[in-house]
């Protein structure tokens, strides 16, 4: 039976020859991501139930990221619970402060993501790792507890929707604009319960960093997972980042695999896109929304806090001054150092930006850049729900790092193409 890449990975993880959408299967998990918001609760549940066992301390990756460095006493308590558990259970890949980073940037960077693997994490943006031809999905604390204890979870095999990304991205248009355009087209529940499979020639010119921005936001269309097939670009990244267990299994969708729908996007016709409040699906071309006055620009997060994103922002901010509060958040310590070594920090400093420690921070309204009533923020993050970054009457405008940087310079939503 012809199968999609998602079906093949899930079949193998369930020990079956084939599966089809709708099948309920028990799946063996290869990697579990734990962070400071959802994992402490999972740990407490296990303790309460007297379940002391961790299925495999080498297959669990732990990093505090949402509220780290601890923003208040309560979050410090969460970190303390996470820390003592990780040490007690001898979790091999534990990244405490100093090594900790925004989980979805950290795990691929540190070589924990492999093609063909089945990955879960206590965070909705766990779908990011699908950029590496893996099945990856977000779960809540109870599922996380079950996965930690047993190394298994049940899943319903999702149907797949194929997105063919045709054409070449014009200058000033990035993978963030592509995914915002896709979500604008299908809506925040346009891929509910589905796997979003991205293919097409436009991907051939995207780095792994750029691809991760696309799969990161699959959840914003309601998807269970996002996935991109393996190629030379993925291989090169993996060669550079995998530190051990360098072998992995590559699955490809069959040519006659069944898709619920195929959607073609002509990337060459895209403009920079901004998702207006209060849904990620409210994407508008920059020419339709330029000029809206903004109070803050936020460049970071698991969507766009990687080195390539910081380079793009710096290329626009170089020799210019920001007109509004501008916060730069390198997603991991390694990215932070790279940005420093490359001289990006000097550019950001001269432009009048502030540079934060790696953290999820203000993306989810935690800390390090919270909005007051009535304030507007252009942000490279992934959600713009009511109150997402602060006061329930504040507003978030989702955009690419280039558009966020250009908007920082002008103090209003701005087209980055005029700075290129």
């Amino acid at each position: 039976m012809p199968m999609t890449i998602t079906e093949k990975i899930l079949a193998a993880a369930a020990g079956k020859n084939e599966v089809e959408p709708g099948d309920i299967i028990d799946v063996k998990i290869d990697c579990i991501m734990c962070h400071d918001v959802t994992a402490p609760a999972a740990i407490s549940m296990l303790k309460e139930k007297g379940i002391d066992k961790v299925f495999d301390p080498e297959k669990i990756v732990v990093t505090p990221d949402h509220f780290q460095p601890a923003k208040d006493i309560k979050s410090a308590e969460l970190h303390k619970r996470l820390d003592s558990w990780a040490r007690e259970k001898k979790i091999r890949y534990y990244y405490p402060l100093g090594k900790a980073g925004v989980c979805h940037a950290l795990l691929p960077e540190q070589g924990h993501i492999r093609p063909g693997d089945c990955i879960v994490g206590g965070d909705s943006h766990t779908c990011t790792y699908g950029a590496f031809a893996a099945f990856s999905t977000g779960i809540g604390s109870t599922d996380l507890a079950a996965a930690i204890a047993t190394g298994k979870l049940w899943f319903r095999v999702p149907a797949s929707i194929k997105f063919v990304l045709n054409g070449k991205l014009p200058k000033g248009v990035y993978s963030k604009d592509v995914i915002l355009a896709v979500i604008a087209k299908i809506g925040t529940d346009g891929a509910l319960y589905k796997a979003m499979e991205f293919t097409g020639p436009a991907l051939g010119e995207m780095s792994m960093e750029a691809r991760m921005t696309i799969t990161n936001m699959a959840i914003e269309a309601g998807a269970k997972s996002g996935i991109i097939g393996f190629d030379e670009i993925a291989k090169k990244y993996l060669d550079e980042h995998l530190k051990e267990r360098k072998q992995y299994k590559v699955y490809q969708s069959d040519a006659d695999a069944k898709y619920e729908q195929t959607i073609e996007i002509d990337c060459s016709k895209l403009e920079p896109v901004v998702a207006l409040p209060h849904l990620p699906s409210n994407g508008k071309s920059i020419s339709d929304c330029a000029g809206i006055k903004i109070d803050q620009s936020y460049i970071g997060s698991c969507t766009n806090g990687r080195i390539e994103d910081l380079r793009i922002a710096a290329s626009i901010l170089k020799g210019r001054k920001v007109a509004i509060r501008t916060i730069i958040v390198p997603a991991t310590p390694f990215i932070w150092k790279q940005a420093m070594d490359e001289g990006l920090f000097g550019i950001f400093y001269d432009a009048g930006c502030v540079i934060s420690a790696p953290t999820c921070g203000a993306c989810l309204g935690g800390f390090m850049g919270i909005l007051a009533e009535g304030e507007k923020c252009v942000s490279t993050t992934n959600r713009n729900f009511v109150g997402r970054m602060g006061h329930p009457k504040s507003e978030v405008y989702l955009a690419s790092p280039a558009a966020a940087a250009a908007s920082a310079v002008e103090g209003k939503l701005a087209d980055p193409r005029k700075y290129m």
Binding site: K49, D123, T142, I219, V386, G387
Partner: protein, 160 residues
């Protein structure tokens, strides 16, 4: 008897159900004080034990935070009836022993403050105010078994 709190809107998301500024705790009682705060600051005062939320499509979209379900449970909400649910939220509900009920045009069939009674296993909502019965597709048996045991971990514990 449960009272319905109707929100005629799609995409009621986890940031509205429990804003991330309160995620520095996983204590259900504390979370409950802020339940639905970004959408309706009066909700916690209005909600009585067993009451239900009725909403449009894609309820619970956004974060994987199970805190959203704990906040609802802590606030006394008995079930959420919505046109459709976001995937992770739906799964979290079952795992926590909480009923997500899918009902087409839910906000048209139930009005705000209607008195309702739900038979989860038969798939019937008795709307006592409107004096009519509304049918819905019950959850699969395995999900009902998990909910009846009080959640996934309790269910696993019982099986062993």
């Amino acid at each position: 008897m449960a009272k319905a709190h109707v929100y005629k809107r799609d995409h009621i998301n986890t940031d509205e159900i429990i804003p991330a500024r309160y995620l520095n705790t996983d204590n259900a009682a504390e979370l409950a004080q802020h339940c639905m705060e970004n959408l309706d600051t009066e909700f916690v005062k209005k909600c009585k034990p067993g009451d239900c939320i009725v909403a449009g499509g894609d309820f619970g979209c956004g974060s994987s935070r199970e805190h959203a379900v704990w906040a609802l449970q802590g606030a006394g909400v008995g079930a959420v009836i919505a046109k459709s649910f976001a995937r992770i939220f739906y799964r979290n509900c079952i795992n926590c022993g909480f009923y997500p009920i899918e009902l087409e045009n839910a906000t048209e069939k139930i009005n705000n403050s209607d008195e309702i009674e739900i038979d989860y296993e038969k798939g019937v909502i008795k709307n006592k105010t409107q004096k009519k019965e509304i049918k819905f597709k019950p959850l699969p048996d395995f999900a009902i078994a998990i909910i009846n045991d009080g959640g996934l971990l309790e269910h696993i514990g019982k099986k062993k």
